[in-house]
Every structure is written in structure tokens, then in C-alpha cells.
Symmetry: C2
Subunit: 378 residues, 2 copies
């Protein structure tokens, strides 16, 4: 265990401002960091069975050092846990522990646990204190900033939830060592996204240093901190997602369509991989629309490829539906106004923008050209 | 149907400010009032079977006039509807109607429907527009101001929910004509409460005019407006219930204990009746502690009695648990710090205050004296 000082990113949201601490060994400092900010608090920890097996004892030891003996609520792992039934179970667990509004609910886990736990913390007694301890790279760079919490509905993902800013986020870079490499890579796609949105320097730095980020040196904490800062900037401009925050969807329109087209089968495509392909397609599509240089698209594709991420549709194992069907997944996901779609496009690396009038016909032509079947045929 | 202009109460909560319109015939003006504030909106109406039978056709006609054809979601009547299962059903109904964040969810009903619907509106897509059309007097003077929404848990009432301010409240005084008189009276207890908290003029006015309020003249709208203004003032000072808002609990500590002691059996005691007895007891207890004159307690008792409300424990049909058991219900409801309890006490009509150090022993002695069995024995 390292004893390096963590990096602190302040998320400036007025009276909802909070710190993200990023570094190794933070699980063991959890009690100290929480009790410094929320003195005398009692706590519940919500986690899943896999994360509990790997990290719960360490966290409990860390909380103990701050005088906190938490109630532990353990959920099954997996996306299905983001449901009303599990929400009710977490809520009941918190109430059974007789926690009050000033007490704290701690999420120890990936995005699923963070989203579910934050939602529960936001509704028990109409809002308790919430602390996030994200244990996946994706959760550290994505859900740790922004205050979105929620569960899925049979009618769609993340359709039910609240905005709740945490009081503190502890991103322990050491726990990422236990992640399967494929999951780490998928999180890395979201990390690289922040460079592509509006931080060209970050993207260039990642091109030079990604191997160290994967290896787990101080560059890992540095990269995560930079991504959190980038997201915090966007969120501070648009906390409740009425405008600029849409930039965070770079790569997500194509990505979601591909996830849906593969029936959310994680064996074929996980979310971060969908985003990777989606980002490459968004750059290539922008180039096709003469908005950006083809060199930029090639540069993005090359980097994703270098780190081992999929970047084109043909990288997805198995057959895909045809271009018309993929377009239908896109239009299902969005309101289509007079045949025009909103997309996040780009003028080059770090120059993404919200394009509100993308003709569906252009999207369709592009999907046809990019489709593995067409490519083989052509 | 009257065509009087409604009274408008503005609830000043910064960017969450909204209007309460109070008057007769407002159901028929709903479409106009909503579309003026939320142009082009689509809507879902959530109601219960009883209210739907009495008022849904009128509301639909009123919405139609504003070009709104709502999806209707009908729940069973009664407190049991404030559950996770019904919350999920309402959420699913809103999503099934494909409403977006800018669309509106309308609650047509009493407190149960208002609390449940507001909670659903607060979590679908992380917050939609919410309009309240309260159809009970209690809901018009209580839940229409304050932004508290929620459901019950097996571990207690209203333990799960969010704060969500509506965009508009339409308090149609005409719909109150269909209320059973016992329910109207129970709502009146909460109305009188605002006079007792900090509006002595309102209480005196009610003493002189309560019969007109019950009869349904312009005095009814006037009284409701005054109660809403009183509550809005308290809520504006303390939106998220960290201080002054506790004043709204006048009568509720004793009242909740009596509700619990009668197993929430509405045939014996409904919430507003518990509050009526609780308010009388709070005044009598304040007098016993030499905080207020016994004349004030007698005045409160006389008014509650005049309107036909219960005001003492012996007014509750059937046997009550003894004083020790009632105290246990009170301490169960609250955190007890070193034998001291927080109570809303008073220095006289319109002079309520938060007392944080009320000895449990004093409460017990008072309960013994006030208990019907002791009184009969004594």
C-alpha cells in the first residue's frame, strides 16, 4: 500500500460543492476523511457480493480508524440490481439501521452500486449524506462526478432517479488493480472521452502515457484527476442537464445503438467499448460531413486500437443488424424532429460540439458505409 | 359553478417559486392555467378511484380547453397506496405515456395522491414538472405548500421521498363540497393550526367566521389562502426542514402518539382529529408548565369543540393505552436526548415555539392527568 498523498479535485457546485480524493490506500483512510467532514456520523455501506469479497474488510478497517462501525447492505452484482426491488431493499436496510438524515450512506462498488445507493440516499428521509467509493475505473471517472443517481425501468435505462451530489468521493486507485483488463479498458474509453470533448492536451498526454495509466503508477491518479476535473467543469456549467452537459454524450449515440443491437450482451460489448466505437464513429462521421479532418478520426482510431479497445463495428463479435435497423435504435433513443437528430460531433480532437440538425439520411448513409457487411461487400 | 376570480398566493422560493390559486371552478380552468405556465406541455393525471368518480370528467374538460389530453393513472384510495409498489406503478404509467422531463404530472386527490404523485414526478427522468390539484381541505392547506413528497415504509410513515416544489397548485374550493363533514373538520384542524402557530388574527377571524368557512362562501377561499400564506412563510424560512419548519408540528407530537395508540384506525381517529386533540393538549401542557395562560388553553378547546372537533383524549371512542404507553409512542417517534424531548409549546394563541428540553417526566405527569381513565378515577 502506498502512502502517497492523494490528489484532490474540488467539484464547485456552490453549497453542494465536494471533494474527490484520488490516490492509493484511500479505503484505509475512509473513516478519517469522512469523520473529518461529517463528525459523529453513523454509516451504512452498500456494496455487491463481488466487491465485498475483495474490498469490504479493508474499508471496514478504514472506517473503524475513524470510529465508524457501519451497517453493511450487500446486493447481488450486475445491472439487474438497478431495479425498484433492490432500491426498496437498500432503503429498508438503511431504515433498519435507524440512520437519521445527518448520517451517511456509503456506496462501495462500480456504477451500478453507485447509482442505486445514491438514489436510496437521496430518498430516505428525503435525503441523507452520501459518500461514493467507486471501485471501477468507469465509476471513478464517470459516476463520481455529476450527481446523477438512478435505476432502470423495463422501459429504458436510468429513467428513474434523483440528482444528489455526494459529500465526498474516494477514488482509490489501488482497487483498480483487481479489475479484469477488459473492464479497465472500457473505463479508459470514458477517460479518453474527456480529452476528445474539450481537452486536447489530455488526449495527447494519454497517447504518450496510457501504458503507465494501465500499469498503475502516479500517472493513473493524474489521469483520473484530470478526467474528474474535466467532467466537473462541464457539470458546474449545467448541473441539471439542460444544455452543455450533453457534450458528455460524445460517442454515446452510436454506442447505445450498438449496445441495444447486441442486446446488452456484455460478452459481445460492454458500455465503455460501445462508447469507444461510438467516439471513433463520431469523429469519422464528422470528417465525412467535412466538419473535421480525416486525420483526427484516424488519430482517435489509432489510439483506441493501441490500448486494445474496439473502434469499429467489425470489432464486435457476431453479426450486427443492418444499417436501417441501427438507425432505428438511434431514433428510438431520441426525439426525432422533422427527420433531424441531435448528435455530439466534433471539429477535431478536443473540439466536440452539440449538433442539433443532423439529417437522419446522412446518418443512414454513414452507417451503411461503416457497416461490416457493406465493408466486406465493398 | 362560480366565476369569481381566484385568490393567488405566491410561494416565494427563488427559482422554485410558484403560485397557489384558490377559488371555485378551478378544475375547469386547469388547462388554461397550466398551458399558460408550461406551454406545449403533455400531461399525466394521477388520481384515485373515488376522486376520479367525482371530479375526473370535470378536470379533463378543463384540461381539454387548454389543449391538453392527459393520460390518466388511477390508484386505489387509502393510505396503503403510499407504498413502493404503487410508486412503481405510477412511474411506469408516466413512462408508458412517453412523457419527457418538460412535461407535467398532475396530482388530483388528497394528501395520499399528492404525496405519491409528487414523489413519482420527482424521480421520473430525475424530475418532471408537477402540478397539484388537492381535493381535500387538509391537502389544500397542508401538502399544497412545502414540497414534501413521499411514501410510507413498514418502518414508519413518510420515511421515503423527495423535496419537489410544484409549478402550480390549483385549490378548487368547490370540490370541498363533496367532502364528508368529518373529513372537512379534520382539515380545518390543520387550518386553525396556522393561527395558533403565529397568526393570532387568523385564529380570531376563524372563531368569528368558521361557519362561513364550512358553508363554502368566499370566506372559505380566504381562510385557505391565509393558511397557505402562513405555511409558505414558514417554509420559505426553512425549505429543507432544518429549523423553524418544526413549528408546523404543533399538535403533532401528541397527535401522532394518539394515532399510533389507536392503530391508525380512521374509524376512531383520523390525522386531523389527532392534531386537534394534540393542539389542545399542547396548549394545556404549556399552561401547566406556566408558559401560557390557562385562558388560552380554554379558548383553543372551546373553538375546537364549537366546530365539532375532538379536543381531549376522552373524545376518542374506545379505550386508550395508559399514560406510560402513550409516552412510549412519543419517545419512539423522536430521539430522546438525556430524558429530554423536543416539543412545540406556546406562550399563548399565535405564539408557538420550539422547546428542546422538555423533561419526559413532565410529559408523563401531564399525560396521566389528561388521561380519560385518570380523569374518571379522579
Amino acid at each position: 500500500m502506498s502512502t502517497d498523498q492523494p490528489v484532490t479535485v474540488e467539484v464547485g457546485l456552490g453549497d453542494r460543492a465536494y471533494d474527490i480524493l484520488i490516490g492509493s490506500g484511500l479505503l484505509l483512510r475512509a473513516g478519517e476523511e469522512i469523520s473529518r467532514r461529517l463528525p459523529g456520523t453513523r454509516a451504512a455501506v452498500v456494496t455487491d457480493e463481488n466487491v465485498a469479497a475483495a474490498h469490504l474488510d479493508t474499508l471496514k478497517a478504514g472506517l473503524e480508524k475513524g470510529g465508524i462501525q457501519p451497517t453493511v447492505i450487500t446486493m447481488p452484482p450486475g445491472e439487474k440490481t438497478k431495479s425498484f426491488a433492490h432500491l426498496e431493499a437498500v432503503v429498508d436496510g438503511i431504515l433498519a439501521a435507524r440512520l437519521e438524515r445527518g448520517d451517511v450512506v456509503i456506496a462501495l462498488g462500480g456504477g451500478v452500486i453507485g447509482d442505486l445507493t445514491g438514489f436510496a440516499a437521496g430518498i430516505v428521509r428525503r435525503g441523507m449524506n452520501f459518500v461514493q467509493i467507486p471501485t471501477s475505473l468507469l465509476a471513478q471517472v464517470d459516476s463520481s462526478v455529476g450527481g446523477k443517481t438512478g435505476i432502470n425501468s423495463p422501459r429504458g435505462k436510468n429513467l428513474v432517479g434523483v440528482f444528489l451530489q455526494p459529500k465526498l468521493v474516494l477514488a482509490d486507485t489501488e482497487v483498480l488493480d483487481t479489475l479484469p483488463v477488459r473492464e479497465f479498458r472500457a473505463g479508459y474509453a470514458e477517460l479518453a472521452k474527456y480529452g476528445l470533448i474539450d481537452r486536447p492536451d489530455l488526449f495527447a498526454w494519454l497517447e504518450a502515457n496510457w501504458e503507465k495509466v494501465f500499469a498503475g503508477g502516479p500517472e493513473r491518479a493524474q489521469a483520473i484527476a484530470e478526467a474528474c476535473r474535466a467532467k466537473a467543469d462541464v457539470v458546474a456549467r449545467d448541473e441539471f442537464e439542460t444544455g452543455d452537459r450533453a457534450l458528455l454524450n460524445l460517442g454515446h449515440t452510436f454506442g447505445h445503438a450498438l449496445e441495444a443491437a447486441t442486446q446488452y450482451d456484455g460478452a459481445r460489448l460492454v458500455h465503455g467499448e460501445g462508447v469507444a466505437i461510438g467516439m471513433a464513429l463520431a469523429h469519422r462521421f464528422s470528417s465525412r460531413l467535412n466538419l473535421a479532418s480525416p486525420d483526427d478520426a484516424a488519430r482517435v482510431e489509432a489510439h483506441l486500437s493501441a490500448v486494445g479497445l474496439p473502434w469499429r463495428m467489425s470489432d464486435i463479435p457476431g453479426d450486427l443488424p443492418d444499417a436501417e435497423a441501427l438507425l432505428a435504435f438511434i431514433t428510438q433513443d431520441k426525439k426525432v424532429s422533422r427527420g433531424a437528430l441531435t448528435f455530439i460531433l466534433t471539429r477535431g480532437v478536443g473540439q466536440a460540439f452539440i449538433a442539433k440538425d443532423v439529417p437522419a439520411s446522412e446518418v443512414l448513409s454513414f452507417l451503411r458505409e461503416s457497416h461490416p457487411v457493406s465493408r466486406k461487400a465493398g
